[in-house]
Amino acid sequence: MITIRTNRFSLSEISVLLRGESQAIAEWSARWDARRFALHIGVIILGAGLYGAAMGWWRAPQQGLYVAIKFPLIILLTTFGNALINGMLAPLLGLNIPFRQSFFVIVMSHAITAAIFGAFSPLIMFMTWNAPPMTASGSDAAYNLIKLSHVAVIIFAGTVGNLRLRQLLEHLGGNRAVARRVMFAWLAGNLFLGSQLSWDLRPFIGAPELPVQFIRDGAMHGNFYENVFGAFMHFFLTK
C-alpha cells in the first residue's frame, strides 16, 4: 500500500481518502492546511454538484442546474450547522480531539461520499438520458427506477463515507467502542439536520405537474418530521 505522508499537497490525496489510509488521513486532520481544506470542499461541491445535475436533468436542464447547487449545499450546511455540537460531543464521548480536527474529519468523510457521488454521476446521467421523458402519465416505471437508483447510490456512498470515518475514528481514539459512540452521535445529528435541509430545499428529481423551481413555494412551512408523522397517521387512520 502506497501511503502519502508528505506535507506537500497533491490531488492524489483523494485516492488516499478513498482507500481510507487512516495514518495519513489522521496526520492531515491534525493540522490546518488551507489548500487541503479547499480541495475537500471542492470535491464536495464538484462531486455532489455533478450528481445533483444528473438527478435534476431528467425534469429539465434548469432543474439540473438548481439541484447541482442544492445538493452540495445540503452537505455543506449540514457540516457547518452541526460543527459546534459535533466538536463538543467528541470529547464528551471519549475522543479527545480538538474542535478543528473533528470538523476536518467530518469534512473528509463527506468528501469521500461526494467523490463517490461524482463517480456515479455519469451513470445516472446515462440512465436519465435513456429514460422516457418525464410526463404526468406514462413515466411511472421510469420514475420508480430512477428513484430507486438514487436511493441505492446514496446508501452506498453514505455507507462507504461512514465506514471510512469509523476507521479514522478508531485510529484517532485507539478504541473501537469510543469510535462507534462518536460516529453514531455524529451520524444521528447529521441525519437529523440533513433530512430537514433536504426537505427545505426540495425538489430534486422534480415532478412533471409542478413547475421547475429552486425551492417550492412554502418550502419553509412545515418540516420533514411533521410530514412523516402526518403521512404515518394518515396511513394508519385510513386503513
Binding site: N82, I85, M88, Q196, R202, F204, A207, M220, G222, E226
Partner: protein, 268 residues
C-alpha cells in the same frame, strides 16, 4: 495425600491468624476512579472562563480538582457566568420562532428558569450528598452544580444552529417544544454524567441519593418551563394567568396541535 488429610492446607499454619486491619485507604469507593490531582495536568490552574469550558469538555477531572482548591469560588462564578450567557444565547434562538417580544423574553425566561431551578434544588442536593456519606463541602457541591449548568448550556449553544433552522421551517409550537425538550434532555444527560463523575470523588457510599436528586431536578426544570410559559409561543402577558402542571400543559398543547394537523403529501 491420604484419608486423614485429604486436602493439603492452602495456607501455612503461621498465616492463619486474622489479617491486620487495613489502613484507611485513599482509594475512591467507585471502581475505576483514580484520585483527583494524580495527573499533574489536573493540577494546572484554570485561569479564565474559556479555559473552564475547555476543561469541562476535554479534561473534566481537572475542573473537578480545581473546584476543591482555594479560589474555587472564583471558578464557580466564572462557570455560572458562562452558563448565564449560553442560556441567553440559546434563548434568543428559541425566541426567533415567534420573534417580537419573545426575542428578549425567551432568553430571560430560559436563563432565569435554569438558575431558579438550580437554586431551588441546591439545598436538597447538599442534603442528599451528606446522607450518602460524602465528604464534599457546600462549595464543592455548588461547583458540581455549576458544572452541570455550564455543560448543559454550552451543549445547548451547540444545538442552537439546528434549532434555528427548524424554528424557521415550521409553525408548529408542539413540534418546536418537543425539539427544544429533546435538546435539553441530551444536554442534561451529559451534565448529569459530569456531576455523577464528580460525586464519585467525594467518598460517598452510594449514588442513590444523587439519583433521587437528579429526578427531582428534572421535574423542577420541566415544571419551570410551564411556570414561565410561553417560552416559544406568544401571549398577551409575560407570565401565564393559569397555573398548570407540566404534564397537563403538554396534554393541552397536544390537543391544540391535533386540531391543527393537516396531512400534506407531496411528490419529490
Amino acid at each position: 495425600m491420604n484419608e486423614n488429610n485429604p486436602v493439603p492446607p492452602m495456607i501455612p499454619p503461621a498465616d492463619r491468624t486474622p489479617p491486620p486491619p487495613l489502613p484507611p485507604s485513599a482509594t475512591p469507593p467507585f471502581p475505576g476512579s483514580r484520585p483527583l490531582g494524580e495527573d499533574p495536568a489536573e493540577q494546572v490552574p484554570i485561569p479564565h472562563a474559556f479555559a473552564a469550558i475547555e476543561a469541562l469538555l476535554r479534561h473534566p477531572r481537572r475542573l473537578m480538582f480545581q473546584l476543591r482548591q482555594p479560589g474555587g469560588g472564583k471558578l464557580i462564578g466564572g462557570m455560572l457566568f458562562v452558563a448565564l450567557v449560553c442560556a441567553a444565547v440559546y434563548g434568543v434562538v428559541a425566541g426567533t420562532f415567534s420573534g417580537g417580544t419573545q426575542l428578549w423574553a425567551a432568553p430571560a425566561k430560559i436563563a432565569a428558569g435554569l438558575f431558579i431551578s438550580a437554586a431551588i434544588c441546591l439545598p436538597s442536593l447538599y442534603i442528599f450528598t451528606c446522607l450518602s456519606g460524602s465528604q464534599a463541602r457546600l462549595a464543592e457541591v455548588c461547583g458540581l452544580l455549576a458544572g452541570l449548568l455550564m455543560l448543559m448550556t454550552i451543549l445547548l449553544v451547540g444545538f442552537a444552529p439546528v434549532a434555528w433552522i427548524f424554528s424557521q421551517s415550521t409553525s408548529s409550537i408542539g413540534w418546536m417544544g418537543f425539539l427544544h425538550l429533546m435538546f435539553w434532555f441530551v444536554a442534561t444527560l451529559f451534565g448529569v454524567r459530569f456531576m455523577k463523575n464528580g460525586f464519585a470523588h467525594t467518598n460517598a457510599k452510594s449514588q442513590a441519593g444523587l439519583n433521587v436528586w437528579i429526578i427531582i431536578f428534572l421535574l423542577v426544570a420541566l415544571q419551570m418551563t410551564t411556570a414561565l410559559r410561553p417560552i416559544i409561543g406568544q401571549a398577551d402577558t409575560f407570565f401565564p394567568g393559569e397555573k398548570k402542571f407540566f404534564v397537563g400543559h403538554w396534554i393541552d398543547c397536544l390537543k391544540l396541535q391535533d386540531s391543527d394537523i393537516g396531512i400534506s403529501r407531496s411528490r419529490s
